[in-house]
Amino acid sequence: MLESFQIIISLLDSTIRIATPLIFCAMAGIFSERSGIIDIGLEGKMLLSAFVAATATFLTGSPIFGLFAAILVSCSASLIHGFACITNKGDQVISGLAINILASGLTITLGIALFSRGGQTPPLASEQRFMPIDFPFLDQLSFVPVFGELFVEVISGHNILVYLSVLAVFFTYYVIFKTRFGLRLRAVGEKPEAVDTAGISVIKMRYQSILIAGMLCGLAGAYLSIAHGAGFGREMSAGKGYIALAAMIFGKWNPIPTLFACLLFGFLEALGVRLEGVELIWIGEVPVQVMQALPYVLTVVLLAGFIGKARAPGAIGVPYSKEG
């Protein structure tokens, strides 16, 4: 009994760690797609910023500097995306894919050129990373049964970016649904003509949205390489950007449901890691690939039948043009 409780606690703990970059990316996706821009480049932006965060931190020794460098680079990638598909009305999926391919190649090439370690960056010392923060009163609380343990093991003891990701969800919710900016952002994703004829610049709104998305992706990347991990490894984003995209669709472009979708996918992955090589009764050993595929399968199945139709913003993927 005690052992299974321990297992659950540790599963929840890794769920949160795994879900953090998903949450940042999914919120980024919400900002971008609510404004009508498909953001398949979440993956690439995260990868780029992970690389830049690790590199900048290694070179300067300051994770804060690394974080800002990551955000800067991710925003630049957003601007490239914007220049291609907002200013020049290109295809948003193609442009996003291009960013992913660019990120994948560029990080490895630059990594090898700079550090000659097969694409990896040198490991970072613990003072060069965002380290776990312990909450106060841990000693006293650890005596409280169940809750105390949950608090100590699951809630407390994460790095600052984990807590920031939760804040990002509420930030996203508040901005999108409670502010004038959010009203215009949603309007521009549903019916840009309505925004244009209301005397608001569609182009400006969309650039602002993807810049916010860029910042959030930067945080996700930094989390991977200088908070959760201690350095960059090639392809370390490993499809998380796509899972975040799935979580966002699963959450119907709403921040709170999307948060739960990210947690669910995080949990599935944690479970997958946990079950690796473990014999299950009746089933036997589950191949890793099956567990890895679960989030996608789940998205398709749930979207197909259970949670109703996910309605994308009305004008998503359509470049805005005034004259015809």
């Binding site: 502010t179 004038r180 959010g182 009203l183 549903e190 019916k191 925004v195 004829t197 005397g199 004259e323």
Partner: protein
């Protein structure tokens, strides 16, 4: 955005005294799109506190001119004066700040937003929505009471009727402080009752000093509500009239550039035996909504039966079933003594074999393949005909011969078989579709919205072709949302509302008011 922020529409309007000076003056406006001159040297003057109509055919440059005034397009040359002062309207933001509001033909509303959210967009009152909503709602309620703009602020736009959506558009403009209101084809989607309601609103706006520009192609509306009217043709303003001193005939002549026969001579024919009988047809849409409920009627040789109704009341589904595009689910159809039962093999190929031709409501979606050449489009659906194909290969020479005659006989311009149909004007595309269907010698012709987006000259021609067909004894089922069209072409009229037939009448004793009431579901006959 700053300048549009602090304007309450109300006060701004009330402080403007009615006067004879011009609210708007456009001087020598020219606008080109590539090689096409949309507006050429246009001059226009509108007095403050009046309703000014602009009429013209499609492509005459009305909408372009208004989009220039609203700041959506930049003119290549020319000047705009507001209340006597030269202004540079280079963006909607600027024009809104100058007090110009526009209600577009296709509404600029966010379908997923509430009425309130739509009305406040662009002038939200505050950075935060909650505090802004209170301010704006107060202001909107004032405007709404003042002008009889009855709306439900909580409703989601996509759930509201078009009439209300239009009122939201007007509110939106007033909320931003509009003193000049441009309405682009505002009555196209309205029932006659809603149109009367809209005109009442426009009159009360005029009383309080708002200047209104009304763009329309409906001459009757121009005559009934405007003070002055300008006629546009070929990108130019060709005539200005005081409404009292002109007539629909004179306006039409100026629009087209020649005399137009607006009245239709209906050939008087003895109707023959019924060729199409529809019995208790019901239909469920893919979303499980019952879109047709127990429809029954018959159509006789040499008769035109008009189906009137506001768009979206089941007419389209009815046409789809009769033409074989949709499966018959319930009821029974008899075509030329052949009976079709539910879920029987019934498709558009079979419909054609049975002598049913179909001019679809949406010529772009179903009537033509736009990038195809005229000669290809002219045999669509009849391409299996042995005249044009030898089983496998198409006989291009025969097709071209046929099509050359076709465009000649039906006055499709330009008279070319090898131009892609997408390059034709709406009216000529429609003539092409109609020509194709008439040439198949049907004895039943289903026609949906024959003159939607078609200019007067082409309308005249299309009506004449339909009458010619009728006099040959073909039975014609005419579905249209244009009440005038239904009344002047049909022998008998049935009215549809929410998937049922709510009334039937002879066109000779039908009145617009009575039909309008039936269309809005107010009265069962």
């Amino acid at each position: 955005m700053k300048n549009s922020e602090n304007k309450g529409g109300n006060e701004a309007i009330a402080s403007l005294p009615p006067s004879t000076e011009s609210a708007i003056e456009l001087k020598n406006i020219t606008k080109r799109f590539g090689h096409v001159v949309a507006n050429s040297d246009v001059n226009l003057k509108v007095r403050t506190g009046t309703i000014h109509g602009i009429v013209g055919e499609n492509g005459a440059g009305k909408s372009t001119l208004m989009n220039i005034l609203f700041g959506l397009y930049k003119p290549d040359s020319g000047m705009i004066f507001l209340n006597g002062k030269a202004v540079d309207v280079n963006s909607p933001e600027k024009s809104i700040a100058l007090g110009i509001g526009m209600v577009h033909q296709h509404f600029m509303l966010v379908p997923t937003f509430t009425v309130l959210e739509n009305a406040m967009l662009g002038n939200e009152g505050s950075m935060l929505l909650r505090s802004g909503e209170e301010v704006v709602l107060d202001r909107l309620k004032g405007l709404s009471n003042n002008y009889g703009l009855d709306v439900d602020f909580e409703a989601i736009i996509s759930d509201t009727p078009v009439g209300m959506q239009q009122r939201v558009e007007i509110l939106k403009a007033l909320n931003r402080g509009a003193k000049i209101l441009i309405l682009d084809e505002p009555t196209g989607v309205l029932t006659p009752q809603e149109t009367i309601g809209l005109f009442d609103i426009l009159r009360s706006l005029r009383e309080q000093g708002v200047t209104i520009i009304l763009i329309t192609h409906k001459l009757k509306e121009i005559m009934s509500i405007t003070d002055t009217v300008s006629v546009m043709r070929g990108g130019k303003v060709v005539a200005d009239f005081s409404t009292e001193k002109t007539s629909p005939e004179e306006l039409a002549e100026n629009m087209v550039g020649r005399k137009v026969l607006l009245s239709i001579k209906k050939p008087i024919l003895k109707v023959g035996k019924p060729v199409l009988e529809v019995k208790n047809v019901s239909h469920e849409s893919k979303d499980g909504v019952l879109v047709l409920k127990n429809i029954s009627f018959d159509l006789k040789e040499g008769e035109i039966l008009g189906i009137a109704g506001v768009a979206g009341n089941g007419q389209s589904e009815l046409l789809d079933i009769l033409s074989g595009i949709e499966t018959l689910q319930r009821g029974q159809i008899t075509v030329n003594d052949k009976t079709i039962l539910p879920f029987q093999d019934w498709n558009s190929k079979k419909a054609r074999e049975f002598g049913v031709a179909h001019v679809p409501e949406d010529r772009h979606k179903r009537g033509l393949v736009l990038p195809f050449y005229n000669y290809e489009n002219s045999i669509l659906g009849y391409h299996r005909n042995e005249d044009y194909s030898s089983g496998f290969l198409m006989d291009k020479r025969k097709i071209l011969n046929f099509v050359d005659d076709l465009v000649e006989n039906f006055d499709v311009r330009p008279r070319s078989s090898s131009i892609s149909s997408g390059k034709l004007s709406g009216g000529n595309q429609q003539k092409l579709v109609l020509a194709r269907e008439i040439e198949s010698n049907p004895n039943i012709l289903l026609v949906g919205q024959p003159t939607r987006g078609v200019d007067i000259g082409a309308i005249e021609r299309i009506y004449a072709d339909l009458m010619k067909l009728k006099s040959k004894g073909t039975a014609i089922l005419l579905v249209s949302v244009e009440l005038d069209e239904i009344m002047s072409l049909s022998d008998r009229i049935v009215v549809m509302n929410q998937g049922t037939i709510v009334g039937e009448t002879n066109s000779s004793n039908a009145t617009e008011l009575e039909l309008g009431k039936m269309m809005s579901g107010l009265e069962q006959v």
